[in-house]
């Protein structure tokens, strides 16, 4: 297999970034930000997941077909979560966001 081998330096940089983001998310959780706490925590989690998917799972160099499958999986999960929550909120079973 003629796979281009990634340098240890790149992996180490991603590893340190993941640890730094973990420290950041714990530190931010100690600060009272109201609804923003959830937003910040989830944004950091998504960034961490993206780093793992792109560099450790090497999706950035995967074939277009593999990328399509990954995106389709995430899209279908988004359908499940968004429709689930919108159903509950629109029936008044869950408190919606303030602008709703």
């Amino acid at each position: 297999m003629n796979h281009h081998v990634v340098s240890t330096r790149l992996y180490t940089a991603v590893f340190i970034a993941l640890l730094a983001l973990t420290v950041t998310t714990v530190a931010v959780s100690k600060v009272e930000l109201g609804e923003l706490n959830l937003v910040v925590a989830m944004t950091i989690a998504v960034v961490k997941a993206m780093l793992v998917v792109m560099f450790f799972m090497d999706v950035r160099r995967a074939s277009s077909l593999t990328k399509l499958f990954v995106i389709a999986g995430l899209f279908w999960m988004a359908i499940m979560l968004v429709f689930l929550v919108s159903d509950y909120v629109s029936r008044g079973w869950l408190p919606g966001p303030r602008w709703f």
Binding site: M1, Y11, K30, A41, A45, V52, M80, Y88
Partner: protein
């Protein structure tokens, strides 16, 4: 052409006859693994959906049960899992370069870190067992207002972290298999597909925890 194909097949016993070459075979394995991981995304996605609904439905009970989640232990376990993902990519890299000793070393390191995670998880579960925080007939909760709601939230905690832990146990078994195969010289820089695929699985399990950690341990505290 026919001659070169024949030598290629003869030189690599791992190439199955229905593939043109090793690159195509590897590509198929990667795609197949990702299809499996997509089903796993949907599987965990259902539980994340249930969690979202019940957290919104019972915000006060959620704030109450969040106090029993130990952030320090959760953060340490997050770091342990990130370290194990790092050793896993280094294992895959060693396999790509055909370095057998380094491959076995990094696989063993990944296995040890996975076991450390499960050990820490055990102490957390044990603490909840002692406190009667396991949903069921022996469930007890200090704040009687939230007796039923807290049970649902603890159930979700155990369902999500429990399914994650089962995936870790399966991963530990897969890593053990890889270590045995590597020790028996089954891998080379020309064929290391199982190392790469189990690496994908291991990183996926890491990603699940990357989302579980803030949702279960962090966001309830400031409510």
């Amino acid at each position: 052409m026919a001659h070169s194909e024949a030598t290629l097949v003869a030189s690599n016993s791992n190439l199955r006859h229905h593939f043109d070459d090793t690159a195509q075979q590897f590509e198929s394995s990667t795609l197949g693994m990702w299809v499996f991981l997509v089903t796993e995304i949907m599987f965990f996605g259902g539980m994340f959906g249930a969690y979202t609904v019940y957290r919104q439905l019972y915000p006060d009970a959620f704030a109450s049960t969040s106090r029993f989640m130990n952030v320090t232990i959760g953060a340490i376990n997050t770091a342990v899992l990130i370290c194990s993902s790092f050793t896993m990519v280094l294992a895959v890299r060693s396999a790509q370069l055909g370095k057998k000793k380094a491959l076995i070393l990094f696989l063993v390191a990944t296995l040890i870190l996975g076991c450390v995670f499960l050990g820490v998880k055990y102490t957390e579960y044990h603490e909840k067992w002692i406190d009667h925080h396991i949903p069921g007939p022996y469930f007890q909760y200090a704040d009687s207002r939230y007796f039923h709601q807290a049970q649902i939230l603890f159930f979700l905690y155990f369902a999500m972290t429990g399914m994650h832990a089962i995936h870790m146990i399966v991963g530990a078994g897969l890593l053990t298999t890889l270590i045995v195969m590597a020790a028996r010289d089954r891998f080379s820089s020309a064929w290391y597909t199982p190392v790469e695929m189990i690496g994908l699985y291991w990183h996926f399990v890491d990603i699940v925890w990357i989302f579980l950690f803030p949702l279960l341990y962090l966001i309830g505290h400031t409510k």
